[in-house]
């Protein structure tokens, strides 16, 4: 919502919009009527389908961000956004495995279909316990073991609580992957077209990825700097994910803005595997008074549903 932004942000956006429009008219001249199917592998940039003012459906490149203007170099990315401490609250009562968070995150970070910074697990603590869907990003722990074990300082904890990876420093020893108890980290096992993106690398965007290095969810600091929330937050149709600054005690899922402390205390928020002492920055609200039955989450392609075949609940479901 434009009107909900601070004035300076408004101005910046306006500036962006103007620069966009000037650039756009040039692009539009070439792309009108050019409804060419796009090869997803060799996509030059993300495309959006729009209506031209004369009623033609056209595909135009999505907002080309002027990366140099906002570029945060790997060195600069060690500094957190001042006076902030970012937290995420995930309301398990609302999640129905719609996977929009996963898809938008993958798109924004140029990830291949199988690689997910945000994963959705089907959790069931015991056979009797109720199963529930659990979206899991990187927890950006306050005591990050992954950072502790890194031999070259390629991954670091910032003052704003975000844990980033500099893939220009990473030697790919994968020690951090064994150090992370939440399986948040992924290795770029091979070169792929997804790693070739024409934009300058910044640890804040994690794009482009690099073969032989580790990558993970980055809490989208590039978006935050622009006054926007991470892609997973804005993508969720259910408003499952709240994001905000713990220091100002405000989190929002886009629709609803609420005090972080109030949300956590009133809904008995918790952190996953608290006893490991890693102090995650991601909190969960327990899956009580659910908005959807858990079965709604199986409204997915087979290759997704197959993932959960070992969960006791699913096994039982198949038996009946």
């Amino acid at each position: 919502m434009d009107d909900s932004l601070q004035n300076n942000k408004n101005n910046r956006r306006k500036f962006l919009r103007i620069s966009l429009l000037t650039g756009l008219s040039a692009v539009a001249a070439k792309t009108v009527f050019a409804d060419i199917p796009v090869d997803p592998e060799n996509e030059p940039g993300e495309m959006v389908t729009l209506l031209s003012p004369d009623g033609q459906l056209v595909k135009v490149p999505k907002e080309k961000i002027n990366y140099m203007e906002k570029y945060i170099s790997p060195e600069a990315s060690h500094q957190g956004i001042p006076h902030r401490k970012f937290v995420m609250v995930i309301d398990l009562a609302k999640c129905k495995n719609a996977r929009k968070c996963v898809e938008h995150c993958q798109k924004a970070h140029h990830l291949p279909p199988q690689q997910e910074f945000m994963k959705v697990y089907l959790m069931q603590e015991s056979e009797e316990a109720a199963p529930y869907w659990m979206p899991k990003p990187c927890f950006h722990c306050d005591k990050p073991l992954c950072v502790s074990v890194c031999p070259v300082g390629a991954t670091y904890k910032r003052s704003d609580g975000i844990v980033l990876i500099d893939n220009e420093r990473c030697i790919g020893c994968k020690f951090c992957m064994t150090g992370c108890p939440y399986s948040a980290r992924q290795f770029n096992w091979a070169d792929s077209p997804y790693l070739h993106v024409d934009q300058p690398y910044s640890p804040e965007t994690s794009v482009p990825g690099k073969e032989g290095t580790v990558s993970k969810c980055d809490f989208c600091p590039d978006m935050i700097r622009d006054g926007k929330m991470p892609h997973c937050v804005t993508a969720c149709p259910m408003g499952v994910i709240y994001f905000g600054d713990q220091l100002e005690d405000i989190v929002t899922n886009g629709d609803e803005t609420i005090r972080f402390s109030e949300l956590i205390t009133s809904r008995s928020g918790y952190r996953h595997l608290e006893d490991l002492g890693t102090k995650p920055s991601v909190y969960y609200l327990p899956p009580v008074n659910r908005q959807f039955p858990v079965e709604r989450g199986f409204d997915q392609p087979d290759e997704i549903n197959q993932r959960y075949k070992d969960v006791p609940f699913v096994k039982k479901m198949h038996k009946n």
Binding site: V152, G172, T178, W189
Partner: protein, 467 residues
């Protein structure tokens, strides 16, 4: 000098090994080189195509490479520990096996770290380890520890070689090309076996042997801590340091036994490496296998007895998917040395060697069971449909690099045995002399050595004072 004459005699006996190269030797080296080049080919493929061509994936991020790393480093530390403690405690029969132990140390120490490099995604950034080190990381500890260990072992090894280099330089019977003789001359460092020089070597070797023992223990504990500092249920264990050290000496003693057996036949060392030596090292093997069994038992007992979900998962997998691996590595591998060494009737050179082979392979499998099943049971359940993402299985790339490493070990050992006598001539001659002196004076051997060393120390002090 009587001892010098004996030494030259002894050296003469071993000279053919250094001078002549048989067809079989070339065939053996050619075979090893083929294996090594095949491994290099696999390595090039891995570098070109990325780690995707290994069996490693996001859950099991380390596979047989890290197993080989632990394995070779273990052998190396074991060599150092065995030779260091034999020297320090003046084991009377150490002579003929010291060099094998020392060469094992240094050769394995060159190969072990190569495997950790194979786990690294970007080899081009290796200098970063030294350019931007973080002291908090156990990998940094390991880099420092291995470098320190390498230097220490090289110095120690050199100290034990110096007298033999001098012997070879002074030998009149030796038939080697001039350049090789020049190398020996340079390496001998002008050692003339004067009492001062001899005492100096003795003193430094004593210090270094103590040093090597300490370093080996610390360095191998550091390697264990790479695993145990993480929160992984199979790794996060306080006994991992000592457990790894014991396992290392266990496997190392096995490798030394195997090498003793091999060189005994090839170089016809029946006179020098006798059953006494096999029983001696075999006893070490047995004691270590008992320690190892004890550590293994207490490690898995506590996991099994407690009811933590993830520990339970791990034990489940070890006793189902990895049942036979587990039985072989932790039952057969520990019990066989105990049975063979424990019952005197079974103690033959061949049976001891067999026990050693089984122990060494079992230890390799044991490390596999420490690394792989743990990574297959992470905290977050693996919810994936890609089979290679769920279960690890090594690809031919990894196997050829594994065998390439073993070939490399054999190759370097073969070369080393061409450069220096496999039996430390000076050491053995001195020991003989000592024994004859002891026999002549009818003294208790232990007392004799003690008196001698006191005299030697006094001599050194006097020399230093004179200067």
């Amino acid at each position: 000098m009587e001892s010098n004459k004996r030494k030259q005699e002894l050296l003469k006996e071993f000279l053919p090994q250094l001078e002549k190269t048989s067809f079989a030797w070339f065939a053996w080296v050619a075979f090893l080189l083929i294996a090594i080049f095949f491994a290099i080919y696999a390595l090039i493929l891995q570098i070109l195509r990325g780690h995707i061509i290994t069996g490693m994936r996001d859950n099991v991020v380390w596979g047989v490479y890290i197993v080989n790393f632990i394995f070779f480093m273990g052998i190396s530390y074991a060599g150092a520990l065995v030779s260091g403690s034999m020297h320090l405690f003046k084991t009377s029969w150490r002579g003929p096996i010291l060099r094998i132990a020392e060469l094992t140390t240094i050769v394995a120490l060159f190969i072990g770290p190569l495997y950790i490099l194979l786990c690294i995604g970007r080899l081009d950034r290796l200098p970063f380890l030294f350019m931007y080190p973080r002291i908090q990381s156990p990998i940094t500890w390991d880099v420092i520890a291995i470098t320190t260990d390498l230097f220490g072992c090289l110095i120690y090894l050199y100290l034990s070689f110096i007298r033999d280099f001098a012997l070879m330089r002074d030998s009149k019977d030796i038939k080697l090309p001039k350049w090789r003789m020049n190398i020996y001359k340079a390496l001998a460092l002008g050692y003339q076996d004067t009492p001062t020089q001899r005492n100096r070597i003795k003193k430094v070797t004593d210090i270094m042997s103590a040093m090597i023992i300490a370093i080996a223990i610390i360095v191998y504990s550091v390697l264990a801590w790479i695993f145990s500092v993480t929160l992984q249920p199979g790794w996060h264990s306080t006994i991992f340091g000592p457990y790894f050290v014991i396992a290392a000496i266990f496997s190392g003693a096995g490798v030394i036994l195997i090498l003793m057996r091999v060189f005994r036949s090839i170089y016809h060392l029946e006179k020098y490496i006798t059953k006494k030596h096999f029983v001696g090292v075999g006893m070490i093997l047995m004691i270590l296998s008992m320690f190892f069994a004890y550590f293994t038992f207490s490690e898995y007992l506590t996991k099994w007895y407690g009811s933590k979900k993830l520990d339970d998962n791990l034990i489940q997998i070890l006793f189902t998917r990895y049942f036979w691996h587990f039985v072989f590595s932790n039952y057969v591998g520990t019990l066989l040395p105990i049975i063979i060494m424990g019952i005197p009737r079974f103690r033959t050179i061949n049976s001891i060697t067999f026990a050693a082979v089984v122990a060494v392979v079992a230890l390799w499998v044991n490390r596999y069971l420490i690394v792989v099943p743990t990574l297959e049971t992470p905290y977050m359940p693996i919810q994936d449909i890609r089979p290679d993402w769920i279960l690890y299985s090594a690809t031919w790339i990894e196997w050829s690099l594994t065998f390439g490493g073993i070939a490399m070990f054999c190759f370097l050992f073969t070369l080393a045995a061409k450069i220096v006598p496999i039996i430390p001539v000076s050491e053995v001659a001195d020991a003989e002399l000592e024994m004859s002196e002891v026999l002549a004076h009818g003294q208790d051997s232990h007392e004799a050595t003690r008196t001698k060393s006191i005299i030697k120390h006094a001599a050194i002090k006097k020399e230093d004072h004179d200067q």
